[in-house]
Structures are given as C-alpha cells and as structure tokens.
C-alpha cells in the first residue's frame, strides 16, 4: 500500500510516470510496469504485526462453523454423514424451502434432531454466537426415527463464501459417500433469471432443476437453461461436491418475486412431492396445507410500508 503524494528520492523517482491534473499540480501516475517498486512494497505491505495476526485469528474463530448436538451440547467429532450415514439426504436452504419441508415432510413421521450447525457472519442478526436460543439455531439436521437412513437439513441462515467449505467438510466429510442421493431445495429472486423471452410473460414462482451427472431420474420440472447460474451453498457447495464425488444429486430452484416467507412460493415446491426421494415421506397433504397456513400467519411481520 503506497502512500500517494509521498516525495520520492533516489534512482527510482526519475523512472516513474508523471501526469498533470486540471489544477496544474504534477502527480505521479501509477506505473503498471511495477518492476521498480517491489522491494518497498514488500517491506511495507507484508509487515504484519502480532496484533494483525491476533485479529485474524479471532475473526477466523468467530466465523468458524461448529457442528454439535444440542441435547448433549457436545460437538461432533466426525462429520455428520459419517456419524449418521444415509441413503437420502434432503437439504432445504432459505426460509421458503425450510417452510415447505416443515409443513409437508416433517409433519409426517417422527423426526429426531441429530445435529445443529452454529455459525456467524455479517448477515446474522445476533452478535452473540455462543448462546443461541433454540429458535435461532440456524442449521438443523434431523433423521427419521422410523427410517434413520433419511436425513434432512433445514438451513435458514446464509452461509458465507468463506464458510461454505467448512460447512461441507463438517457435514459431508472428506470421503466420498456411496449409495446416497441428495435433494436440495432453495429459492432465488426471479430478477436473477436470465431468459430471451419477455419477463412479463414469466409466471413466477416457477421451479427449475439442476442435477449432477449421476442423477438418472427425470426431474420434477424443466432443467435450468443456460446462461443461468446457481449461487452460494446449494450450488457452489453441495451440488459441486456431489458432482465431483459422483453422488446423484438434484437441486430444485424456485424463482419467485417474494423473497420473504410466502404461501404461493412455498406451494410452488409441490411438484417435488411426486419425486422418488420425497414420495414415501409425505403422508398427509391437506393437513400439511393447514400447517403451512398457520406458519404463514405466525411469521407475518406487521409491516405498513406497502398497502
């Protein structure tokens, strides 16, 4: 980091480029050749104090992804899927996807909590990362008591870019999982959807799918067309991991114009109920709709901005 305007003496000064501003002063224009100043830069920039190191360490600790069992308050020694191997792993990321799984899948059968991921980043509303109340636990893992090979993840927090790898490691572990199928549900705003047709003809919310090479089943909706890309944990994390380790995985992405918890958006996930991974898990659809409606009314934040 060079201080601008500092007088330069010595053999280097002559070689630097000069430029005049409107006000007549002559300033040094940054030289892109970059060869003369390397020594100085190394001295200045890389002089890291112990304080810098300590700050960096504290920040890393704060942003660490911790996986633990809430009932026993002990952290998991191995990755989650090593401890609870499964054949079906269903992940919901984002509040609408989470609401869908809560109302349609989790109300049929008894689900036991097997782990909880605790993490902090700038998007989190709380600053105290050590004493999170049960309502604030962001990323919770469950398995079906009657069939423990089905594992569900409800992730309602945002996992930042630097935390995604840690999350994957703590959940999937670093070895390939055999005989597992992964289903990911998430939402995105419809303004992210790139298409050559007119946006006024798009009927949002709508569902799009993206799958790994090993996923052989036909997906429940049309595939995501190019040049659209999927962001963050669902794609960069989970789907990429599954593609690399040849795990059959499918991502169902709901494009919606309402990013907060919304009944119509959640119901747009309904076609997935006919997929092989979810079919056996959903028993009572009318009751699920009732539960969903209740969830909507309890979560409605009274906002008077829009009428």
């Amino acid at each position: 980091m060079r201080r601008s305007g500092a007088p330069r003496t010595g053999p280097d000064a002559g070689a630097a480029a000069m430029a005049a501003t409107f006000f007549g002063e002559v300033v040094r224009a940054p030289c892109r050749a970059g060869t003369e100043d390397e020594e100085e830069e190394e001295e200045e920039g890389k002089r890291e104090t112990a304080e810098d190191r300590e700050v960096r360490r504290q920040l890393a600790r704060k942003r660490e992804v911790r996986l633990f069992r809430r009932q026993t308050k002990t952290s998991l020694e191995v990755s989650l899927l090593e401890k609870y191997p499964c054949s079906k792993f269903i992940i919901a990321i984002g509040n609408n996807a989470v609401a869908f799984l809560s109302s349609f899948v989790m109300n049929s059968g008894v689900w036991e909590e097997v782990g909880c991921a605790n993490l902090w980043n700038e998007w989190c509303r709380t600053t105290d990362t050590t004493h999170l109340s049960p309502a604030e636990a962001f990323c919770v893992f469950y398995h079906l008591k009657s069939s423990p090979s089905v594992v569900l993840c409800q992730c309602s927090c945002y996992v930042a870019e630097d935390q995604q790898y840690q999350w994957l490691e703590k959940v999937f572990g670093s070895c390939a999982r055999k005989n597992m199928q992964v289903t990911i549900l998430t939402c995105r705003h419809v303004t992210d959807y790139k298409t050559s047709e007119s946006t006024s003809s798009l009927h949002s919310p709508f569902l799009k799918a993206l799958k790994t090479q090993n996923f052989k089943e036909p997906p429940c909706c049309s595939l995501l067309e190019q040049p659209n890309i999927v962001h963050d944990l669902p794609a960069a994390g989970v789907l990429s991991y599954c593609q690399v380790w040849r795990i059959p995985a499918v991502l169902y992405l709901c494009y919606t114009d309402v990013m907060k918890l919304d009944l119509i958006t959640v119901e747009a996930f309904k076609p997935i109920l006919s997929s092989r991974s979810l079919k056996g898990l959903v028993k009572n659809i009318p009751q699920s709709t009732e539960i969903l409606k209740k969830l909507m009314t309890t979560n409605e934040i009274q906002s008077n901005i829009y009428t």
């Binding site: 114009d257 009944l263 008077n304 901005i305 829009y306 009428t307």
Partner: protein, 250 residues
C-alpha cells in the same frame, strides 16, 4: 450491468432502460391486489384488505379513497407515497372547482396524477412514486370511466384492470370473464369484481373491501355483511354451475 445504471434516476442505461422506474413497478407488486371494473351504469373498485395488527385502528388502513364526490381511487404499493399523491390530487380537485367552477373530469385528475408521477422520474435526487392507481368515476356527461396510472407516469383507460400482487392472474380472469352479460347490470358488475378478487385472495370474503360509484351518486363503501352476502351468492352460483356440468356429463 443493471447495477451501474440504477443509482441516479436521470440516467438511462445503454439499452434504454430507466431502472429506477422499473424497480418502482416491482414495489407496486408488493402491495395487495386491487381490481377496478367499469360497468354500464356503475364503476366498482375491489381491494384485498391487508391484515391489520390487533392494536391498530382498522379505519386508518384504507386502500380506497375518495378524491372528490364523483371520483375515487384505489392504489397498490408504498403507503406513504400514496398518501402524498392522494393529498395533492384532492387539493387539485378543489382548486379546479374553485377556478373553473366545474368538478374535475376523471381524465383530468388522472392526467394530473400521472404528470406528477412523471415529474419524479425526471428530477435528479428524487425517486419515482412507488404506487399504481386505479381511478374511477363519472363525468358530467354521465359516462363511467376507469383509468390506471403507474410509477412511470403513463395512464390509460381500461374496461377492467387489476394492480398489485397477483395482478396478472386477476387480469387474465377478467379477460376471460368480462363480457357484455357480465356487466349487464350493477349487481353483475359487483359480482364480477368479487369473483376476480376471490381468485387470489386467501380466506375469502372477509378479506375483501368494495366500493362503488353509481351515476349521480356519491361513493358507497360496502359493509362486511353486504360483501358476505355477495360472496355466498357467488358460491351458490358456482355450485349450481358445477351441478349442471356434472348432469350434462352423465
């Protein structure tokens, strides 16, 4: 690319978009649905009532407002922006009456509101109004009118239209069901408005508010009971239609 052209309202993007105006139209979609229908002797405005907090006074959460004795409007979008626009329109209605001794025509006041909105799309440092409005009323010549304005400052006359959340669904319903029979008399026009809203309103009649203006009569707001009556009639008609269909099938 959009992120470099939505800072200042006065900047066009290279492909000719005014992004702030388009974003304002997104804000309109966050408001609850409003539908307007122009009948032969009646104009109807129906809105989806927003759920009111327990301690909030319901009378202060209104989507349908009278601008003058013979003109009223419903809006969708930012509440505060609507309040400002409505106040200016009301003042203009009275100012017009005092100056030219005639009440405003529906088109005049719509043009006034649209011009006001357009001004805010061309000044620097100001953002557009985030509301769309449905303006209805009768002119002195006795002809019913329905106009719609949007944040860009355009206005058009419509036979029937909807704004706000799920407006597209309601508009499609209206395109299918707005026929000469459907607006044959006042009651039918009112029922059409309610049926259009029931397409998108959850939990039925108790979340609907309705207002009508009949020729030479002031604005009339329907009570909850009257709306319930209409809703039961509509449901009865639906059942009968379905029974007829199943009879025909067998």
């Amino acid at each position: 690319m959009a992120s470099r052209y939505d800072r200042a309202i006065t900047v066009f993007s290279p492909d000719g978009h005014l992004f702030q105006v388009e974003y304002a139209q997104e804000a309109v979609k966050k408001g609850s649905t409003a539908v307007g229908i122009r009948g032969t002797d009646i104009v109807v405005l129906g809105v989806e009532k927003k759920s009111v907090a327990k301690l909030q006074d319901e009378r202060t959460v209104r989507k349908i407002c009278a601008l003058d004795d013979h003109v009223c409007m419903a809006f969708a979008g930012l509440t505060a922006d609507a309040r400002v626009v409505i106040n200016r329109a009301r003042v203009e209605c009275q100012s017009h009456k005092l100056t030219v001794e005639d009440p405003v025509t529906v088109e005049y006041i719509t043009r006034f509101i649209a011009t006001l909105k357009q001004k805010y799309t061309q000044s620097n440092g100001r953002r557009p109004f985030g509301i769309s409005a449905l303006i209805v009323g009768f002119d002195d010549d006795g002809i019913p009118r329905l106009y719609q304005t949007d944040p860009s400052g355009t206005y058009h006359a419509w036979k029937a239209n909807a704004i706000g959340r799920s407006a597209k669904t309601v508009r499609e319903f209206l395109e299918k069901n707005y026929t000469e029979d459907a607006i044959a008399n006042d009651n039918e026009a009112i029922k059409l408005a309610i049926r259009a809203l029931l397409e998108v309103v959850q939990s039925g009649g108790k979340n609907i508010e309705l207002a009508v203006i009949r020729r030479n009569q002031p604005l009339k707001m329907f009570s909850a009971k009257e709306i319930e009556l209409q809703v039961t009639e509509i449901e009865k008609e639906k059942e009968e239609a379905e029974k007829k269909k199943s009879k025909k099938a067998t």
